[in-house]
Amino acid sequence: MRAENYEARNHPPSNEFEINFGPNHPGIEGNYALKVKVHGDEIVAARADGGYLHRGFEKLMEQRLWIQNIALVPRICVPDPAPMEVAYSMAVEQLCGLDVPERAQWLRVLQLELSRVAAHLFTFGGHAATTGMYSPMFWGVADRDLILDLFEELTGGRVYSIYNIPGGVRRDVPDGFLQRLSDTLDYLDSRLPDYDNLLFTNRVFVTRAKGTGPISQTQALEWSVTGPNLRATGLKFDVRRDDPYLVYDQLDFDIPTEEPGDAWARTLVRRGELQQSVRILRQVVERLPGVAGPIRAPIPNPLAWKVPAGETYVRIESSKGELGWYVVSDGSEKPYRVHVRGPSSMHAVQVLEHLVTGARIEDVAQIMFSLDACPPEVDR
């Protein structure tokens, strides 16, 4: 900009000014922006500004074969990719009328719960870092890496595993895997008291998180809040229990809930879920060796696979909330229409805009992390 082109801008005399949170900001999880209008340090208005991560998944999927889309779907939510694969595979299976072998269902539960633990560990770290505590972040990332090692052993990929295909899973567990999984679960159990000491009973964290960004149960239901954010308002709703899929009806687990619906409650619910996921994984370790049979139903030649015409909606519980896939087939080799109902688009747009309005500027990052919204899933 040439110096002679500068002009004094006519600012109206006001105490209010605008601030951009993101798209490149340490307090924003990913490439996402929030525009806020502040008066002093209080926020008077806010608007979410997405679209930085928009890739056009739903359009791209219409241009690819049914089987090729398996590689595309985990990219929709990077920290928690497994539920995307599983839900898409389940939708295709429903359209084709495929029966999934029981062993494959157990392996899918194994992958889903491991993914949930990894995602929650990552969220703890991110939430703690927004209140200025970086040690929980280092711990969370380091412990998450142990789970990524297990993924690597099971599927070959650390983050994007592409483990599920319609009809079952690609590989069986390697020798000694269940023992190593069991050891990792023991380690995670032994780490939980450390996390409690470091984070969940930390006075700085408790004081900052309690009462921050509260949602009432009525509001939560009006805004389509799902997952841990909904259970933090006291409503005991979990797709795994209320609309069971895979083998969740054979498993024994609790649904942790909290009452106040603030940032503190949301984090506490996730901590409880992590414990329950470990409990589920222990049951999988115990019962998987007794489930014999194939891991994959026979599917037609994937390159000329025509899925019967029809439409279906499949929903599962991801670590962020209820994840739905609406898939329409016109009987050809490619999907006619695909729509993803991601939980984050509700959390990161309307809920976030309402919660930060009236909050103080230092709590914006914390509110966003406690909602655990995933920007790639918002933009899709």
Binding site: R2, H25, N31, A45, G51, H54, P79, F122, V141, P376
Partner: protein, 245 residues
């Protein structure tokens, strides 16, 4: 001063390549500078896409990037390396270029993931900006979908080595061939595209003004150049009816 005069005007070249100088003391000093520069690097990790998920493991205790003297930094003014972690949409690319131009020279760009190389898995998508080095000079690509933390660290070590040998000169290329990069940017963003940074003046400042700094695209830029306006920072809440409760 007309454009032709600007082009013809000779500017002294301040930047010297290590090993290029005849004076042995000057050469030793240049090599020492390049060595020191390669050993203290701040990263600005712009989390544009999926690749950002492998950076926390690379930065924290397991792979520990800081043992190489590289540490993350949140502000472009303090950073040396711009890490583009994955897929770049057209909307993001504007901000990436804005960020790149804010960084002080010498600055280096690393493109992580296949998406920065050629659009990767989203080569068909209408929203994707493919081939990052059309829009800004990229010193190093780390390919893969997504590259493991080990690959990220190997890439950073390679960049350190390139800096030590004086081969990571993408930032000079941006000044010397600004018209080329601006042309690609204008094709994507429209002819009225501008950033607040005066790259041409910076090119003169660093002594990197060349025949290709100015051209048809910079001429277009100067026609459209407006007073400094922040990039779409308006909230649009001026009228009462738009304010949410």
């Amino acid at each position: 001063m007309s454009d032709n005069e600007l082009v013809n005007q000779q500017f002294p070249v301040k930047v010297e390549q290590p090993g290029g100088s005849g004076n042995i003391f000057a050469r030793v000093f240049d090599e020492l500078t390049a060595f020191c520069r390669s050993r203290s690097l701040f990263i600005l990790h712009y989390c544009t896409g999926c690749g950002a998920i492998e950076l926390p493991p690379a930065m924290t205790s397991r792979f520990d990037m800081e043992r190489l003297g590289i540490s993350p930094m949140v502000s472009p003014r303090q950073a040396d390396i711009l890490l583009i972690t994955g897929y770049v949409s057209v909307k993001t690319l504007k901000r990436v270029i804005l960020t790149y131009e804010q960084m002080g020279s010498p600055k280096y760009v690393i493109g992580i993931c296949s998406c920065t190389v050629n659009g990767g898995m989203y080569w068909q998508s209408y929203a994707t900006a493919k081939k990052l080095n059309d829009y800004m000079p990229v010193d190093l690509y780390i390919a893969g979908c997504m590259p493991r933390p080990e690959a990220v660290i190997t890439g950073l070590r390679q960049l350190m080595e390139n800096i030590r040998r004086g081969e990571a000169n993408g930032w000079q290329d941006y000044y010397q061939r600004y018209d080329h990069y601006l042309g690609h940017q204008q094709r994507l963003f429209g002819e009225t595209w501008q950033t607040p940074t005066d790259v041409i003046a910076e090119a003169k400042h660093y002594g990197l003004f060349s025949n290709e700094t100015l051209g048809e695209h910079t001429k277009l830029l100067q026609q459209h150049q407006k007073p400094l306006e922040a990039l779409e920072m308006r909230l649009g809440l001026d009228s009462k009816d738009k304010v949410e409760p």
